[in-house]
C-alpha cells in the first residue's frame, strides 16, 4: 500500500482530540477496578514467603469458618479443572500445586463478602512448607547441583507463536533456547581491523501500569464470563477455554478501559485464578491486586549479555556475536517469545554480514518475567548500541557518522529471510542529531548520544474486524483491539472516517469483548495501527462496495455506472450519501451495512515481520561528578512511523516510551537480596517523575509512507524506549570517560565508576 500516497487527508494524519478525552478528564472512564456485579464477592490471595518449597499441607478450616468468608481456594481444590495454563508453555498452575517456586507466588485465595474480610482470613490459613534450595540468577540455575524448578514435562501452549522446543521439565532449568547465525563470525573476528567486547547487564524492571491487575469472573453453567484488565482478551480466552475445558464460544472476556499495559498485561495473568474462585464460590468474584502484588506477578526478563562486534579497515561492521542468558523467573509466561525476539534484535538495524547470537533463558525462583514494552529489544540494545559507540571511539570515528555508515538502508534485506527494511534510519538519525545539536560545542561535564533500534514488530498477522454503517450515516467499528491509552479508540475511527467520508464524531468503537468483537490476536508489538488499522480500512471499503451495489439497486442502474464520492455515491446528476443509500435500500430509515475484513499471513502481510519498528533517540546529559547523579539536559525522539494517523498520539507514544527507557537508564531496577524482592513497593522502586523531565524535549516523526499499514503507516510506541539506556551510557562515557555496561546508571554506580577511573588514573 506504500505506493498509494494521499497528501490530502481529511481526518487521517490530523491530531484530532482523543475519543476518550472527556470521560478520562471527568473521572467517568470505567476501568475493571470500577465495576461491580450484583452479588459479587471479593478475593484476596495468600502468597508464599519462600522462594522454593514443598507444600506439605494446607489447612483452611479456620479461614473458611471466619464470618463473612464464602470459601477458600487452594491447589487441592482444583479437581475438574486443567489448572496449568500458558500460551507458550503450559507450566503455570493457577494456584501453587504441591510446591511454590518463588516468594510471592499465590498459594490460596479467600473469597469473602468484602476485601477486608477476605484479607483478615488470610492469616487463618495454615500452610506447612518444607523449604528447598533455590536459584535466583541464570548462573545459579545452570550450576550442576542446581535444584530443578520444574520436574515434569509440559506441553507447548496451543498459541505458542514459534517453533522452538519446550525444554521445561527435561532435566535442566533451561526454559528456552534460540539462536541465529549467518556468515562466519570466527573468520570475521580473526580478520577484523578492530573489535570491542564486553559483558552487559539489563536489570529486572517493573512496568508499573498504574491500574494493577484486576478481574471479575462469573462462572456459571452458561460459561465463563470475565471482565479483565488484559491487553489480549482473545489469548486469555484460549487459556480459560483450556482450564475449564469449554468451547471458546462459552468463554467471554470483556475489557473496558485499561489503566496502562506496556506489555505487562499481555497474555493471561490472574484470570484463571479469579475464575476458579467464582467456580468454587458459585458467585461473581472480583480480584483486585495491589500494586505490590502486581510487582510479584510480572516483571521484565533481566539479561546478562556477552557481546563482541568487529569492523574492517573501512569502518564497516563485519561481525557481531553474542551470548545472552535471560532470567525468566519461575514460569515461562511469554519469555520464550522474548528470547526469540531479543535474539533477533541483537543485530540492531545494521547490515552485518557475519552474525552468531545464542540466547538461553533460565527458570529461577523469582517473579515470572514476560512481555515488557520493547519486548527483549531494550535488553540487547543496551549492549548493541553501546558497542557501536565503543567501536566508533576505538577507531576514532564520530559515533553518529559511524551509525549512518552501517545502518540498514531502505529496502535492504539486512536480516536474511525477513522483510526488507522499511524505514529510513539516515533520516531518523539526522533528525535526532540535529535536535540535540550534535555538532555544537559541549559544556564541561556534558555528553551526548544518538542511538537507534530496529525491531521485528507486529507479532503474528491475524486480525479481523467489522465496520457497521448505520442508516443515519453513523458508523460502529467492532474491534478486538484494546484501548490501553495508546489511542486505538481514536486512530481506528479516524481511518474509518477517512475511508467512508463521514464525520469523525459519528464513528463509534466497540472493543475487546470476545463474545461480540471479531478476533484480533493481540494488542501489543505495536501492531494495532498497522494490522487493525488495515482491517478497518478494508472493512470500510468492503462496506462501500456493498453500498455501491445497493445504490445501483436503489437508482435502478448498473453497478458500473455508480461512482463513489467522499461520503457517498454519484450516478449522473443523482448523488446519495450513505445514509440515503441505506435508508432507500431498506425503505426504512434504519438498518445497516456490515463491512468485514480479515488479515492473515498472506498478501502484503506474508513477509514477516509485519514491519520493522525503527526509531532514533538523542540525549544530552550532564553528570554531577561529586554525587554521580545524571541530569537529562535534552531529549529528542524520532519515530519512523511511515505515516502518523494521529501525530499527537504518535508523539505521545514516543515520549512515553523514551521516558520509560530513561527510567531504566537512570534508576529503575527490581532488586533481589537472597530470596526476597527487597524493593517491591513504589516507595523503593524509583519511577521517572516530573523532576526527571529533560530540560529540553523535541518530538519528531519521520513520515515517508513506507509502512505496510494504512496509507503507508506502521507501528510505533516501543522503539523510543529501546535505545535509551545505551544512549545514556554512551553520553556518560562522552561526558566523563567512563564506560558503564550495567543499567541502571544510578548515581552511586556512576560515582563508583568515576572513583575507579580516578584511582586507575593516578596509578598511571
Amino acid at each position: 500500500m506504500s505506493a498509494e500516497k494521499k497528501p490530502d487527508f481529511h481526518v487521517v494524519n490530523h491530531a484530532v482530540p482523543r475519543r476518550d478525552a472527556r470521560v478520562k478528564v471527568t473521572g467517568k472512564a470505567q476501568y475493571v477496578a470500577d465495576l461491580k456485579l450484583i452479588g459479587m464477592a471479593y478475593a484476596k490471595v495468600l502468597r508464599s514467603p519462600y522462594a522454593h518449597a514443598k507444600i506439605l499441607s494446607i489447612d483452611a478450616s479456620r479461614a473458611t469458618a471466619h464470618p463473612g468468608v464464602y470459601c477458600v481456594v487452594t491447589g487441592n481444590d482444583l479437581e475438574g479443572l486443567n489448572p496449568y495454563y500458558g500460551h507458550a508453555v503450559k507450566d503455570h498452575p493457577l494456584l501453587a500445586i504441591d510446591k511454590v517456586r518463588y516468594a510471592g507466588e499465590a498459594v490460596a485465595a479467600v473469597v469473602a463478602v468484602d476485601e477486608r474480610t477476605a484479607f483478615e482470613a488470610l492469616e487463618l490459613i495454615d500452610v506447612k512448607y518444607e523449604e528447598l534450595n533455590a536459584v535466583f540468577t541464570p548462573q545459579e540455575a545452570m550450576a550442576e547441583d542446581a535444584p530443578l524448578l520444574h520436574e515434569k514435562q509440559f506441553e507447548a501452549g496451543a498459541l505458542r507463536g514459534f517453533e522452538g522446543e519446550v525444554t521445561a521439565g527435561k532435566g535442566s532449568n533451561i526454559c528456552q533456547k534460540h539462536h541465529i547465525k549467518w556468515g562466519n563470525v570466527e573468520e570475521a573476528f580473526k580478520n577484523a581491523a578492530a573489535v570491542v567486547e564486553g559483558d552487559y547487564y539489563f536489570p529486572m524492571t517493573y512496568a508499573y501500569a498504574m491500574e494493577a491487575y484486576v478481574a471479575i469472573a462469573d462462572v456459571t453453567d452458561q460459561g465463563v464470563n470475565i471482565y479483565s484488565s488484559a491487553q489480549h482478551p482473545f489469548m486469555v480466552r484460549h487459556d480459560l477455554k483450556s482450564v475449564f475445558n469449554l468451547p471458546v464460544s462459552k468463554v467471554r472476556l470483556i475489557v473496558p478501559f485499561v489503566g496502562g499495559g506496556y506489555g505487562s498485561k499481555s497474555y493471561t495473568k490472574i484470570e484463571p485464578l479469579v475464575a476458579a474462585c467464582s467456580w468454587k464460590a458459585k458467585r461473581p468474584v472480583k480480584l483486585q491486586l495491589t500494586v505490590e502484588e502486581a510487582m510479584l506477578t510480572t516483571r521484565s526478563d533481566d539479561a546478562y549479555t556477552w557481546m563482541r562486534t568487529a569492523v574492517d579497515a573501512n569502518g564497516k561492521i563485519i561481525a557481531r556475536q553474542a551470548k545472552i542468558f535471560m532470567n525468566t523467573g519461575a514460569y515461562a509466561e511469554n519469555s520464550p517469545l522474548v528470547v526469540e525476539k531479543s535474539t533477533n534484535r541483537c543485530v540492531g538495524p545494521y547490515a552485518i554480514p557475519n552474525v552468531l547470537i545464542e540466547n538461553c533463558s533460565l527458570y529461577t525462583n523469582t517473579v515470572p518475567a514476560s512481555s515488557y514494552r520493547g519486548f527483549g529489544c531494550a535488553q540487547v540494545t543496551l549492549p548493541g548500541e553501546s558497542q557501536i559507540d565503543e567501536l566508533a571511539a576505538k577507531i576514532g570515528k564520530d559515533p553518529y557518522e559511524f551509525r549512518l555508515a552501517n545502518a540498514a538502508k531502505p529496502g535492504e534485506e539486512f536480516f536474511p529471510g525477513m522483510r526488507p527494511f522499511d524505514g529510513t534510519l539516515k533520516q531518523d538519525l539526522d533528525t535526532a542529531a540535529r535536535a540535540i545539536g550534535w555538532n555544537t560545542p559541549l559544556a564541561k561535564g556534558h555528553g551526548r548520544g544518538v542511538a537507534c533500534s530496529g525491531s521485528d514488530a507486529g507479532a503474528y498477522p491475524l486480525t479481523s474486524t467489522v465496520v457497521r454503517v448505520h442508516a443515519d450515516g453513523s458508523v460502529t467499528i467492532m474491534t478486538g483491539s484494546t484501548e490501553l491509552g495508546q489511542g486505538s479508540h481514536t486512530v481506528l475511527p479516524q481511518i474509518a472516517a477517512e475511508e467512508l467520508g463521514v464525520d469523525f464524531d459519528k464513528v463509534n468503537v466497540v472493543s475487546s469483548d470476545t463474545a461480540i468483537t471479531p478476533y484480533d490476536r493481540s494488542t501489543g508489538a505495536s501492531r494495532t495501527t498497522t494490522l487493525m488499522g488495515s482491517a478497518v480500512l478494508e472493512a470500510s471499503r468492503e462496506a462501500i462496495q456493498q453500498m455501491v451495489v445497493m445504490a445501483a439497486d436503489v437508482l435502478k442502474v448498473k453497478v458500473e455506472d455508480i461512482q463513489t464520492v467522499r461520503g457517498g455515491v454519484r450516478c449522473g446528476e443523482a448523488q446519495l450519501n450513505w445514509s440515503e443509500v441505506i435508508s432507500k435500500f431498506y425503505a426504512l430509515p434504519d438498518g445497516e451495512v456490515i463491512g468485514r475484513s480479515y488479515i492473515r499471513k498472506s498478501g502484503r502481510f506474508s513477509a514477516l515481520p509485519v514491519f520493522w519498528e525503527a526509531a532514533a533517540t538523542g540525549v544530552e546529559i550532564s553528570v554531577d561528578q561529586e554525587t554521580g547523579k545524571i541530569t537529562m539536559e535534552k531529549l529528542a525522539t524520532v519515530g519512523d512511523v511511515g505515516l502518523a494517523i494521529n501525530p499527537a498520539l504518535a508523539e505521545g507514544q514516543d515520549i512515553g516510551a523514551a521516558t520509560m527507557g530513561m527510567g531504566i537508564g537512570l534508576f529503575e531496577e527490581l532488586i533481589y537480596e537472597g530470596s526476597q524482592l527487597v524493593n517491591g513497593s513504589i516507595l523503593d522502586y524509583r519511577l521517572p517523575r516530573f523532576s526527571d523531565l529533560p530540560k529540553e524535549v523535541e518530538l519528531h516523526l519521520v513520515q515517508n509512507q513506507d509502512g505496510v499499514g494504512p496509507y503507508g503507516a506502521k507501528g510505533g510506541g516501543e522503539a523510543s524506549l529501546n535505545s535509551m539506556a545505551a544512549n545514556i551510557a554512551n553520553a556518560v562515557d562522552r561526558a566523563t570517560g567512563v564506560r558503564i555496561r550495567h543499567a541502571p546508571l544510578t548515581p552511586e554506580k556512576v560515582w563508583r565508576a568515576l572513583k575507579d577511573k580516578n584511582i586507575q588514573g593516578s596509578k598511571v
Binding site: 554525587t627 544510578t746 560515582w751
Partner: protein, 284 residues
C-alpha cells in the same frame, strides 16, 4: 486495596486524657497524628493496633507561634502548616524550606511534625535540622512533663525515649537572631532522603563563632560530632580548609549503614559533598 485492619478511633480532649488512654490501651493503642507513616506500616501489617488516639483533637496542639525568642510548634502541626506559616518563613526560613521539600505535597498536607519525630523513621528530613537548630521537645505524660533535646528523643531506628504513656506536646526552637546562618541540603533518589545535612552557624563578620552540623538519614538517627563542629569554627577561610576533615569526623560519628539507599562508603563520601554544599548555601 490493602485494607487497614479494624480499629477504634479515640478523641482525647487534652494531653492528660491522651496519656490516660495510652496507659489504658497499652500495646494495643498508639497515638495517631496524621497517619502518613503509621497507616502505611499498618497497611503493610508491620504494625497492628486496636485503638488509635487522635492527638489532633487536642485543642491547641497544632499551634505555631513565636514566644520569648523561640518558635513553638505543636506536635500536631502539619508539615504544610509549617511550610506556609508566615512566622516560620520570616523567622526561620531554613525550616520552611526544609518542610517544602518533605516527601510530596499530599504527605505534607496530612503528615505532622510531631508524628514524624515520634515515628523516628531514619530516612527523614526534620530531625536532622531540628537537632542542628538546638530544638527541644516538650514531652508530657499524665502528670509529668519533661523537656529533651532531639538527640534524646530519637534514640534509634524507629525508636524514641517516649514513655508508654508519654506524648510529644510540641517543639521549641530557639531563634538565634541575625548572626545565625543555616542551611539544610539533601540527596534523595527515591521517596525518602539518602542523606540530609543540616548546618547552623553563628557568624560574626568573617568569623564563625559556633557551628553545628548534623547528618541525617545515613544511619539510624541524626548525628553530630563535637570534633566536626569544632573544625567548622574559626575564620571562614580556615574553615573552608577544614571542611573535608570536619566531614570525615562527622562521617565517623555517623557511621553510615549499607542499605537500599546506598553503600556506607558512598554515604561517607556524600557527607563531604553535602557539608561543603551546606556551607556554601548557609553563607550565601
Amino acid at each position: 486495596m490493602m485494607p487497614l485492619r479494624r480499629f477504634a478511633m479515640h478523641q482525647p480532649k487534652s494531653v492528660a486524657e491522651a496519656s490516660q488512654m495510652l496507659a489504658e490501651f497499652g500495646e494495643k493503642g498508639r497515638l495517631y497524628a496524621g497517619g502518613t507513616e503509621l497507616l502505611l506500616a499498618m497497611k503493610h501489617d508491620l504494625l497492628r493496633y486496636e485503638h488509635l488516639i487522635d492527638v489532633k483533637t487536642i485543642p491547641g496542639l497544632n499551634k505555631i507561634e513565636l514566644k520569648n525568642g523561640t518558635l513553638n510548634i505543636g506536635g500536631a502541626a502539619t508539615h504544610r502548616a509549617i511550610e506556609h506559616s508566615p512566622a516560620v518563613k520570616e523567622n526561620l526560613p531554613v525550616l520552611a524550606q526544609m518542610e517544602n521539600n518533605v516527601a510530596n505535597v499530599r504527605v505534607r498536607a496530612s503528615g505532622t511534625l510531631g508524628g514524624n519525630l515520634c515515628f523516628a523513621e531514619p530516612h527523614s528530613d526534620p530531625a536532622a535540622l531540628l537537632l542542628a537548630l538546638g530544638a527541644k521537645a516538650h514531652l508530657q505524660a499524665k502528670s509529668v512533663r519533661r523537656t529533651v533535646t532531639i538527640d534524646k528523643l530519637i534514640t534509634g531506628s524507629y525508636e524514641t525515649s517516649l514513655g508508654a504513656d508519654e506524648l510529644l506536646e510540641g517543639i521549641e526552637i530557639p531563634l538565634a537572631g541575625k548572626s545565625q546562618r543555616a542551611a539544610y541540603v539533601k540527596f534523595q533518589l527515591k521517596e525518602r532522603p539518602t542523606l540530609g545535612l543540616a548546618l547552623v552557624l553563628d557568624v560574626d563578620g568573617d568569623n564563625i563563632k559556633k557551628a553545628k552540623a548534623v547528618v541525617g538519614s545515613v544511619s539510624p538517627m541524626p548525628t553530630e560530632s563535637d570534633k566536626a563542629n569544632g573544625l567548622l569554627t574559626g575564620s571562614r577561610a580556615q574553615v573552608e580548609k577544614q571542611l573535608l576533615d570536619a566531614a570525615g569526623a562527622l562521617a565517623q560519628a555517623a557511621d553510615p549503614v549499607d542499605d537500599l539507599e546506598g553503600g556506607a562508603d558512598y554515604k561517607r563520601h556524600l557527607i563531604g559533598v553535602f557539608l561543603k554544599r551546606a556551607f556554601i548555601k548557609a553563607l550565601a
